[in-house]
Amino acid sequence: MSKRVMVLIGTKKGVFILDGDEGRQSFDLRGPYCEAWPVNHVIANPSEGAIYATGGNEWFGPAVWKSTDLGETWTHSSEGLKYEEGEAPIKTGWSLSPGNDEIYVGVEPAGLFKSTDGGQTFEHVQGLRDHPSREHWMPGGGGLNLHTILRHPGDANQLWVGMSSVGVFHTADGGQSWTPRNQGTRNDYMPEGMSKYPEYGQCVHSMAMAAGDPDRLYQQNHCGMYRSDDGGRSWLSIEAGLPSTFGFPSAAHPRDTDTLYLIPLNGDILGRFVPDGAAAVWRTRDGGKTWEDLRKGLPQEKAFFGVLRQGMATDSLPQTGVYFGTSTGSVFVSSDEGESWVEAATHLPTITSVETLVVN
């Protein structure tokens, strides 16, 4: 029996879902869901058959949405998703990491929350904001947000988080204490005379864990592209061969630890578009030693879009699919590991996130 492939799309105006089959050549679009709220991330939790979304509405604040019927109906909650009185209130949810026992939520201003009851209530993982560096955390252009959450596949106490303009932090005790892990990543925005390699303050844009290997992490930074082979204790530049050091998303291959996908943009001051108005996904198959551009089926002239940090994903099918959504509301899909692409949706609101779910 053919499997159903769902593309879960977060946008500035609600959640949309593309339904397709294993061929991944054509899709049916449905949505908007979640009352057309701005949604920064929507992702499935296959272990419980649920889909979660998070974002924030200008009128009504932040919330986590949940669907248990593959996106047809949704409920929301934010019980406990708040800081203490007197602190700057949470503006929006940014990222989700659902697991077997708990769901983590990253928010803006940067912090981490956890739900152990399927998204009904949330508790603050206070240890992160208790870190002594917190008084120096400053917002970047996208706000002071916690946008990336990675889990150790064999140790539930280990997490990595990425925070804009703050950097990568790691915990080995379930969130009670945290350590910056930014050694080797560059901050080009330090004043003259100060180190460009500080302990924290780097602008991580996204991270991806190599399939099943918590030692190997990839990081697209505002200032460069990096790989770590020691769980983030040190980072090695792998930007040579890329058209730009700047970009947002990074998506790991689901089985090959050496394969990664990126979408470099034309830098941070000239619109943050695909370079030269021509779209390309860049792929490495050797852990970042070399890169190749993949363009077949992608617009090659007068394309003025970007792809945001959570806007690219892979799927779990035997021939890996790669997906990305643009700031101009298009979704592009490759069913052959990035070799060729089809435009699966157009005219959506600005796309903030793309994830996939394969249903038997």
Binding site: E35, W59, F60, G61, H76, E79, K82, Y83, E84, P89
Partner: protein, 104 residues
């Protein structure tokens, strides 16, 4: 007594402050079954929100932040005057919760 049902009459119990509440459509959509108009017993705007949250759990978080303040892009009027959480209420007051004209 914890509030007044929205089918109650306009007469309040002795000493009770019963006010008329109007809720915006965008809020009603988040809480299926909530009515656009109802009557509530509350002595200030914070009391109105607390009572709404008892009836529709989670509504407090939609109306106020953790500061605690009324959310920035919501307006709550008592009669024709813009209110704060601590604004006192008198029996018969009309409390209108509105979404602001904002966004893009």
């Amino acid at each position: 007594m914890a509030g007044v049902g929205h089918n109650s009459g306009s007469e309040s119990q002795e000493g009770a402050v019963v006010v008329r509440i109007s809720l915006p459509t965008a809020l009603l959509r988040l809480f299926p079954g909530s009515p656009g108009q109802l009557k509530i017993e509350a002595r200030d705007v914070r009391g109105v929100i607390d009572e709404l949250d008892k009836r529709w759990p989670g509504m407090r978080d939609r109306l106020m932040d953790s500061s605690p303040k009324i959310r920035r892009h919501l307006n709550i009027f008592v009669g024709e005057d813009r209110a704060k959480l601590e604004t006192p209420l008198r029996s018969g007051d009309r409390v209108t919760i509105m979404t602001a004209m904002s966004g893009g």
